[in-house]
Symmetry: C2
Subunit: 325 residues, 2 copies
């Protein structure tokens, strides 16, 4: 018998695959089972892939479940259900609905005596921590968030829903001039559409009306309207060859003043080849924290704001102070 933290993964899409890979980089953590709604026999016949209906058979075999449901809809349903039997970590990212989701997880977790950590990843997650840090340390100042350069799944999906489009990829790119102004302490307000431009690579059906498609993209409300948007039509081969990775990143900046107008700047910057693999790596580190906090008696719902960062590490408090402080 070893002392490894035993993990279950719920959902076997990009995030679930990434979590499987991330666990293999952490010697103190082991993967027990991956739960899927599909027929596990149709997957790559890994012995640890199990149908979701068997989840309760693992009640005493898993310390923390990492919920990798691909959409807010999955988590809305799965989160409260799973946390009534297991400790959980999830990446719920519908910012506006976080308070409501938190309440649901909290009620379910309080009844079961488990711990549910919600909205882990980089945004929400590490970006949220840095926004909090900036505003707390420099109360007189301004906060900025830039996303990209990176692939936005939501915007890519929006393109794909247009008639005549076979496939599409959208990259969000910070506008250099806006970023420079922020970095130069110009203390301005930058609406999202003045801070970012959008570049779309679209692959269409034969004889599709390209002018109409380009127009539909550029005028789509909430997604593209008001943004500097470029549309490039490319072949399916080119799309597959050059745009199949999922890079992303971004930065959180706080500029502020202290004393007699001394300028101070805090910047947190991510550059990611693979957005889902990075998000999964964060989920796995936080799963370690959830297990430790639960062992100390913590139950209910929590967010990244409630987790001391030392709990993310396999090192003891003494090792951390000696090596990293």
């Amino acid at each position: 018998m070893d002392n490894k933290i035993r993990i279950g993964i719920v959902g076997y899409g990009n995030l679930g695959h990434g979590t499987e890979l991330a666990i293999s980089q952490n010697p103190d953590i082991k993967l027990v089972a991956i739960f899927t709604r599909r027929d596990p026999n149709l997957l790559d016949s890994k012995p640890n892939v199990v149908h979701i209906s068997q989840v309760l058979d693992f009640k005493d075999k898993i310390d923390v479940m990492i919920l990798c449901g691909g959409s807010a809809k999955d988590l809305d349903e799965q989160g409260p259900m799973i946390v009534s039997h297991f400790n959980t970590v999830d990446s719920f990212d519908n910012h506006q609905r976080i308070p409501e989701y938190f309440e649901k997880i909290n009620q379910s977790a309080k009844s079961s005596g488990k711990l549910g950590l919600i909205s882990v990843g980089w945004d929400p997650g590490l970006f949220s921590l840095n926004k909090l840090l900036g505003i707390s340390v420099l109360p007189h100042g301004k906060s900025y968030t830039f996303w990209g350069e990176g692939l936005s799944q939501g915007h890519s999906d929006a393109i794909k829903r247009i008639k005549g489009v076979k496939n599409g990829i959208q990259y969000t790119i910070p506008i250099r001039e806006a970023l420079d102004k922020v970095m130069n302490y110009e203390n301005i307000d930058i609406p999202a559409n003045e801070g970012h431009k959008r570049i779309c690579y679209v692959c269409c059906e034969e004889n599709a009306d390209l002018a109409r498609i380009e127009n539909e993209i550029k005028t789509m409300p909430n997604y593209f309207y008001g943004y500097d948007t470029s549309v490039f039509f490319i072949s399916e081969e080119e799309l597959k060859q050059n745009h199949s990775k999922m890079p992303h990143g971004g930065l959180v900046v706080r500029t502020g003043t202290t004393g007699e107008g001394n300028k101070q700047k805090i910047e947190f910057n991510l550059t990611l080849d693979s957005n889902p693999e990075f998000t999964s790596s964060i989920l796995v580190a936080y799963a370690r924290a959830v297990f430790k906090l639960w062992q100390e008696g913590k139950t209910g719902a929590i967010s990244v704001f409630d987790v001391p960062l030392g709990y993310l590490s396999p090192m003891s408090g003494e090792e951390l102070r000696r090596n990293l402080l």
Copy 2:
């Protein structure tokens, strides 16, 4: 009666002054008294400046003491003494001696039922948190720290001790080529002297032997030997006019890989007009956390690794989740 957190400051040098200014930016925190070893009447006759010998008169009037002792020697003596009567935050920054100092604070604080948070600031402090985050989220990777551009007090003091030197300022500057290699994921080892150069502005006594002084600086072990060091001799007026601010900053970078070699990068970057004012701003935010943790029953010594970041903010958990997650 208000509900503000009541702060005392011990030590009225750069850091103490900065803390006084930082408190004024936080409406939920108030300054009760500043304790000094000097004769308070010789200071600028502020009514709240008190001689250190009166500190015990304030036992029920102060929630958290911010220890602004200018050197490890001050804190070594003051830390354990003050924490036997008050909750404390300090910026103990002698990295190698942190474990020993932690033990002393812990013993004293456990006996008194108080809470002592040690080694707060940006290095140690925010940089430590980011090193921990990097290594925990990207276990397969490499961590780097660069300091500057900024004024190093220790190196400036070392210059001043040389015979014939009246005054001196040393700036630490990251070497661009080394930084570029790190940012390009070259995964190299960079000893401190290959990552930084040193620029010294020195003002000497009349008829001093400049060649000897320059040589003594450049060959000084631990401080300058092995570094690309430039020495400029300037007048006292020029030193005062152009080099009296205390700018600093630096960055912590983690480069790593996930999955099949996808490159990931996390960067935390500070650019500071005033090093002591920024450090004090961090101390004040963490004083808020100390008070909350102590109210919850936490005693003994802790470090930044033990503090949930949500505790730095005056906002409630609910407000934080709604506004910043």
